[in-house]
Amino acid sequence: MTNYMTLRVKAVPINESFVRGVVAGFTVPCDPTIDVINDVRTAVSEAVTNCVVHAYSGSGEGDILIEGVLNDNLLTISVSDYGKGIDNVEKAMEDFFTTKESEERSGLGFTIMKSFMDSLKVVSEKGAGTTVTMTKKLTDVEH
């Protein structure tokens, strides 16, 4: 199975569920288990929420670009924004680190992306935006 998708959405909260639903649907032809689909859904939800909450500071003004590639049973998904960028990526990726404690943010977004997916790469530039790229093997069977 080889396929790709591109989705561009406005950085508003309602699109968090829309995007995780689309990406979950994108994996279905590979016949992953429910658990694997849920891992992908959760990780994508975290990535998109970060864009809404942090990249654009909840303003709702800005785009989120989601690109997915299926290559045999390997999913590669990247979530990009053109927002403010992350000051210190290493720090941001620490468990429980958050810049928005007052908004009850848990600081576990990257922790979940990292542990639910097989790989996670974060590239960020101040004032230009952030791209999060994640991969996950969807099934153990080689097609």
């Binding site: 959760t42 975290e46 929420t49 909450v53 009850e104």
Partner: protein, 102 residues
């Protein structure tokens, strides 16, 4: 996302129905804090049997309620999370302070 409650003696059961993410967290936060304020329970159980999805926003939400309840010495429990939600909660370590009700 729907929230309903049932008061059983002094135990407040809060039933979450739908998907708990950032888009709904703020609204249900106010709603649930109001319920707790009005009912003065001795125990709060977050019933998740009908919750279909939760991400780390939910962890922040649960912790926020826990902190408020702890200041009033009211214990909090989690009931019937599905496997996806259970996995998210386990990663957060939340069960050590907010036990799973069996």
């Amino acid at each position: 996302m729907k929230v309903s409650t049932k008061l059983n003696r002094d135990e407040l059961h809060i039933y979450l129905d739908g998907e708990l993410d950032h888009s709904v967290a703020e609204e249900i936060r106010t709603q649930i804090d109001d319920y707790i304020e009005k009912n003065a329970p001795t125990k709060v159980i977050l019933e998740m049997g009908k919750l279909k999805f939760m991400d780390s926003t939910g962890i922040g939400f649960i912790l926020g309620r826990y902190k408020k309840l702890r200041s009033k010495h009211i214990p909090m429990f989690i009931g019937s999370p599905n496997p996806q939600i259970d996995k998210v909660i386990k990663i957060s370590g939340l069960y050590s302070i907010i036990p799973l009700l069996r």
